[in-house]
Every structure is written in structure tokens, then in C-alpha cells.
């Protein structure tokens, strides 16, 4: 059995940042990620990030991943990276079981930061399992990581930030987006993203939903319809769009299995995407020594995931006995950054959600 001080599960923006900040204080870290490279969702993002300089504003997500990886190299003596490695369970005695390239490995850490991110929600309508109906994340992976087009035409379901951004990315990759629809009467994502899309002539159909998908062996056509103010389908408003890809982007749910298995106290908070762990200001859950950061703690933007990662890394290292003269300043800086990212109108939902689970 491998032992270490801190195991970080997930090498996306939160996990990477956590590894860097914990190692910067001297902690011995194992960073585990199930894919073949670190960076999580960052490596699929071709757009420039919002936020401020501290969260790499106006740098493209894919490049931020590169910057974080460079930072990580500084601490290569204290961070062991395990790629293509999936944590299959965290057992009651704190042992983490990992599968890496068909090898079964056990790790016993003193503390754990869970930064597993989120998974995509699924939508129900007849024939929703036809080939050609994909999650937005899948489409991003296919085109931006592997350079393969999902199809020729795409109808996007969901006008939140992910739906808007992926639509834009599809157009960048030379794939035609026929329409974006959303059940809500309002566009959920940033309006600047929406305007960018509209300028290219792509309609955004609010108060619309998918009624039916058609196709023999794979998707050929979708029937859409309008929703009234009570979100009920308006009879007679149906119309068809021919398309070979329907991309579903109706939100994310935190990937919390490992936290449930550990018995962390969980609460259902719709503003944060579903069940999320109760945590304190140090991002420690109800189980001592288990920390969370990023989307697993509540679905937000990558900018705040990075700051949360940094904060969790600092707090976990401190609890392991590491310190530095400016530790408190660094922690406060993280808290201030989070406050500022969550201030304002668009952060309202997040603030309300967090107030329910932060103790």
C-alpha cells in the first residue's frame, strides 16, 4: 500500500491548483486523474476566460492549463502524478483504491482533497438514446481534444454558458449550428456569449424544448415545440429541424460518489447543481481531513474552481502541520477573490446556494 500525506482526486483546474498550493507549503502530494492528461475541462476551452488577472482573465482555457502545468513542475519533487488512473472507491478506513492501466493500487493518505468535478445531466424525450444525441462535454472532447467533428449539423439544447460556448466552438471547428434552444424564457449564460452567437446568424429559441427525436439507426431530425409561461408544451407549435447531432447541455451535477461513500454530510442545493457536501470556510467537509474544491463542491465557473483549489490546498497542508509566514494572507486573498468572483448579479445564485452548505 502506498502512503502519502495528501491525495488529490481530480487534476482539473481545482485539483491542479490544490496540488500546487499544498506542495508550495511542503506537503507530499499524490495527484490522481482518470484521463491521460491533466487540466480537466480546461484543455477543451478555446475561449478567453472572464474574471481578473489573478484568475488568468483574457487567457484561453487551454492555455491556462499549460500555465498551471508549468507551476506544477516547480514542485515535481513533492507531487507524484498518476494519470489514466481512476479512483474506484474510498473505503471507510480511508484507503483509496485506484485502477491504473489495468493495475489495482491502494493508497493510504492522511488527507484527501476531492476535486472530481461534475457530470452532465441527461434529458428525457422519445428516442433520447439515438446515436447523434450527445452531451456537450462529449462533443467538446471529440472536437477540441481529438480533432474529430461530431457531425455536420448540430442543434444545441441549453442556452447556459456551456451551451453557448460549445456552439461557438462548433462553428469554429467548421460545424454548422442550426439553433440553440432553452426551456427557460431567458438565456441563462452570459449575454456577451449569446450576442456572439447571434451575430453569426444562429437563432436562440428560448421557451422551447425537444419533443421528439427521429431517426432509424441514428439521429436524422428533431421535433421542437414552444413552451408557455408555465413551461407546458403549446399544442400545434411543433416544428422539425433536420440535424445529425443534438447536443445536450442542460446543466451539470457534482460528481459526489466518493463523498457519499465516505459518509460526508450532503445537502440538496439546486443552485449548486444537486447534492453537495456541507463544508466550512476551509473547504473541509463534515469528515475531518476530507476537503473539496471545484464543481464537486457546487457547480461554478473554472475561475472560482482554481481559487477554491488553491484554498483547499493551503488548508489541507496547514492541517498536516505545514506553515508559512504569509499563509493567512494567502488564505484571505483566496477568500477575497472568491467573494469578488461571486459578487454581482450573476453570482447571486451561487451565493444563495453556498449560504445553505457553508458552516
Amino acid at each position: 500500500m502506498i502512503t502519502t500525506e495528501l491525495a488529490i482526486i481530480g487534476g482539473g483546474p481545482a485539483g491542479l491548483s490544490a496540488a500546487i498550493s499544498a506542495a508550495s507549503l511542503g506537503a507530499k502530494v499524490i495527484l490522481i486523474d482518470r484521463s491521460e492528461n491533466l487540466g480537466g475541462q480546461l484543455i477543451k476551452q478555446t475561449h478567453m476566460f472572464f474574471g481578473s488577472q489573478k484568475q488568468y482573465a483574457s487567457i484561453r482555457g487551454v492555455d491556462i492549463a499549460g500555465i498551471l502545468m508549468k507551476d506544477l513542475e516547480k514542485y515535481q519533487d513533492s507531487i507524484e502524478i498518476m494519470l489514466d488512473a481512476t479512483v474506484i472507491s474510498v473505503y471507510e478506513d480511508g484507503v483509496i483504491a485506484v485502477e491504473q492501466n489495468e493495475k489495482y493500487i491502494k493508497i493510504k493518505p492522511q488527507s484527501i482533497i476531492v476535486a472530481t468535478g461534475a457530470s452532465e445531466k441527461f434529458l428525457t424525450f422519445p428516442n433520447n438514446d439515438l446515436p447523434g444525441i450527445y452531451g456537450a462535454g462529449a462533443v467538446q472532447t471529440l472536437m477540441n481534444v481529438h480533432g474529430v467533428a461530431p457531425g455536420k449539423n448540430v442543434v444545441m439544447v441549453g442556452a447556459g454558458n456551456i451551451g453557448l460556448i460549445v456552439s461557438y466552438q462548433l462553428m469554429q471547428a467548421g460545424i454548422n449550428v442550426k439553433a440553440i434552444l432553452d426551456a427557460s424564457p431567458k438565456i441563462g449564460g452570459y449575454l456577451v456569449h449569446a450576442s456572439k452567437i447571434r451575430r453569426m446568424g444562429i437563432p436562440i429559441l428560448t421557451s422551447h424544448t425537444v419533443k421528439y427525436a427521429h431517426g432509424n439507426n441514428k439521429l436524422e431530425k428533431v421535433t421542437l415545440c414552444r413552451l408557455d409561461e408555465k413551461w407546458q408544451q403549446v399544442p400545434g407549435s411543433e416544428f422539425d429541424i433536420e440535424t445529425d447531432v443534438l447536443c445536450i447541455s442542460v446543466g451539470l451535477s457534482p460528481l459526489t460518489e466518493l463523498l457519499w461513500q465516505q459518509g460526508c454530510e450532503m445537502k440538496y442545493v439546486p443552485e449548486l447543481g444537486g447534492h453537495v457536501p456541507v463544508r466550512n470556510d476551509n473547504l473541509e467537509t463534515s469528515i475531518k481531513g476530507i476537503y473539496v474544491a471545484g464543481d464537486v463542491a457546487g457547480v461554478e465557473e473554472a475561475s472560482s474552481a482554481m481559487v477554491e483549489g488553491r484554498l483547499a490546498g493551503l488548508c489541507a497542508a496547514k492541517a498536516l502541520g505545514y506553515n508559512s509566514p504569509d499563509l493567512e494572507d494567502k488564505k484571505n486573498d483566496c477568500l477575497e477573490q472568491l467573494n469578488s468572483l461571486r459578487s454581482g448579479h450573476v453570482g447571486e445564485k451561487i451565493r444563495s446556494g453556498l449560504s445553505k452548505v457553508t458552516v
Binding site: T46, R60, V62, T86, A138, L142, G147, V148
Partner: protein, 101 residues
């Protein structure tokens, strides 16, 4: 279909390799997921559901959803969205729940 030109990204793909899908030979890039290589060749139907035999493609692309189980080199229930392509691989559409051999 492969994306040849991209305004932001450049794709550093592995070397070209051949693989066999249901008896026909295709070309893909070494190390990319089998599902990506199949998509590049225009193949979207990867498997069929157990009970109702409905065609299934991939849905999540990261090994979560179990929609893309295929037989790879004789082994059933391989998630081709994450399984990496190698020279000479034999990929087959899985019939039913797969046979242990």
C-alpha cells in the same frame, strides 16, 4: 470527419495506424480513443442496448455512461470512448451482453 483547420487549436495526433472494424480496415491515429477514430470514419453506431437492441452511440465520451460498449481484440464490454487505439486492433460490434472467452 477530422477537423483539418482550427483557428485556435492544433491537433498533435499520433501516427496513423490501421485497425479493423467489423471486418473492414480503417485508418486512425494511435492513442486516440477508438470512438474518435470510428467517428472520423463516419461511424456513429457503436453498439446496441441489451434488451431492446436499440442502436447506441457514445454519450459522455469519458467512460461514465456505458453507451459505447464494444468487443475489442475479443474482449467484451470495452468502453471505446476511453480505450486507446493501437495498430492492428480488431473492433467488433457487440451482440448482446458480450461473451467471456
Amino acid at each position: 470527419m477530422r477537423i483539418e483547420e482550427h483557428p485556435i487549436l492544433s491537433f498533435n495526433k499520433g501516427k496513423k495506424v490501421n485497425f479493423v472494424f467489423d471486418g473492414k480496415t480503417y485508418e486512425g491515429c494511435e492513442g486516440e480513443p477508438i470512438a474518435a477514430a470510428l467517428h472520423a470514419a463516419g461511424i456513429m453506431v457503436l453498439g446496441h442496448s441489451h434488451n431492446k437492441q436499440r442502436p447506441r452511440g457514445f454519450y459522455c465520451a469519458i467512460g461514465n455512461c456505458s453507451s459505447c460498449l464494444m468487443v475489442v481484440n475479443g474482449q467484451p464490454n470495452v468502453r471505446v470512448c476511453t480505450e486507446k487505439l493501437q495498430e492492428g486492433m480488431v473492433v467488433e460490434t457487440q451482440v448482446g451482453k458480450g461473451d467471456l472467452k
